[in-house]
């Protein structure tokens, strides 16, 4: 594992129409970047990220907006993952880029931005901005992109990079 490089930890792409794509286990690394492209959904939905197989509603909270609308919030008791955008759609989400801090013994701050709802030159994409939290203090070693109750169109993918850094 390189301390001084962003290294690819895993890559998964949907073949067929899965309800989620899940990374393999990877090394616990202090800083993570996750690139998500959603080709589309079978039915209107908002995908969510989950960590280490946690499908509970005790550790996630987030706030997310499309095009700077009043944000949608969800907290423990309701949030079962980090919703990647505010707006349900069947359309593609061209790129969502997540930064996640992953230092042992701490909650996980998460920030992301995205180009959403269009992969067509004729239609401007929407801007996604989000802030989130996974309050568990164990390090993330696995990430799942779940389709929010629908299924993904083939070609949806997720790339995970990590850097150990100096911390």
């Amino acid at each position: 594992m390189a301390n001084s490089l962003w290294v690819p930890l895993d890559y998964k792409i949907a073949v067929g129409t899965p309800s989620s794509i899940a990374s393999d286990r990877f090394d616990a690394i202090n800083y993570l970047r996750v690139f998500v492209r959603i080709a589309g959904y079978a039915g209107g939905a908002i995908a969510q990220l989950r960590f280490n197989g946690d499908t509970g509603t005790t550790a996630y909270s987030y706030r997310v907006s499309n095009n700077f609308a009043v944000a949608t919030t969800a907290v423990a008791g309701a949030a079962a993952g980090i919703k990647v955008a505010q707006t349900s759609t069947v359309n593609p989400r061209g790129l969502l880029t997540f930064d996640i801090i992953n230092i042992t013994g701490r909650p996980h701050g998460i920030v992301w931005s995205g180009s959403d709802q269009s992969e067509l030159a004729a239609t401007a994409p929407e801007i996604v901005i989000g802030a989130g939290l996974w309050a568990t203090t164990t390090q993330i070693t696995q990430i799942t992109l779940e389709a929010g109750g629908s299924t993904f169109i083939a070609g949806t993918d997720m790339a995970i990079f990590g850097m150990m850094g100096l911390g």
């Binding site: 490089l5 962003w6 800083y31 998460i110 920030v111 901005i129 939290l133 309050a135 100096l166």
Partner: protein, 168 residues
């Protein structure tokens, strides 16, 4: 100095009680990415990022918005650093990601976004977005994370990564 990848060039972590933490490094990279986590502060305060120990009111301007409210602007004459967000707090901010362009003989454009004001699943974090300038044309080679009126709790930290295009 490597030209082809992002390298970690500085890291600092508060033991607790510091009014500022400092990340020194030697090489002056063309592009910087700074990751900040604030575990909290003793008294309500607002955090700022400063460069090369410049705490004057000559070179900084910034605009920041929480949850897409109209941004608060701070300009030369008042601004002593890049104010990450307004509204004093003692609370934790999980992650702020700042990008800085760092070419010689140019002002420094700065953008950031963050997940702030909560590290508890019971409270949704707020979204901060910001834009800033450090007008000095010297290259950034050191970053300071400072509070205006208080001290940091332990484990507040700042990591700096750099990359070079290699043309200047």
């Amino acid at each position: 100095m490597a030209y082809s990848h992002w390298v970690p060039i500085g890291y600092t972590r508060a033991a607790g009680g510091e009014g500022q933490i400092i990340t020194p490094w030697c090489d002056d990279y063309d592009y910087l990415r700074i990751l900040i986590r604030i575990s909290g502060s003793v008294l309500a305060a607002m955090p700022e990022v400063r460069f090369n120990f410049d705490a004057s009111t000559v070179n900084y301007s910034s605009a920041s918005s929480i949850n897409f409210a109209a941004p608060t602007n701070r300009v030369a004459g008042v601004a002593t650093g890049i104010r990450l967000f307004e509204g004093g707090t003692t609370g934790a901010s999980g992650l702020i990601v700042m990008d800085v362009i760092n070419f010689l003989n140019r002002g420094h454009g700065i953008t950031w976004k963050g997940s702030i004001l909560s590290e508890a699943a019971a409270t949704a974090p707020s979204i901060v977005c910001g834009a800033g300038v450090w007008q000095s044309v010297g290259k950034v080679a050191l970053a300071v994370l400072a509070l205006d009126t208080s001290t940091f709790l332990a484990n507040t930290d700042m990591a700096v990564f750099g990359s070079d295009i290699g043309f200047d």
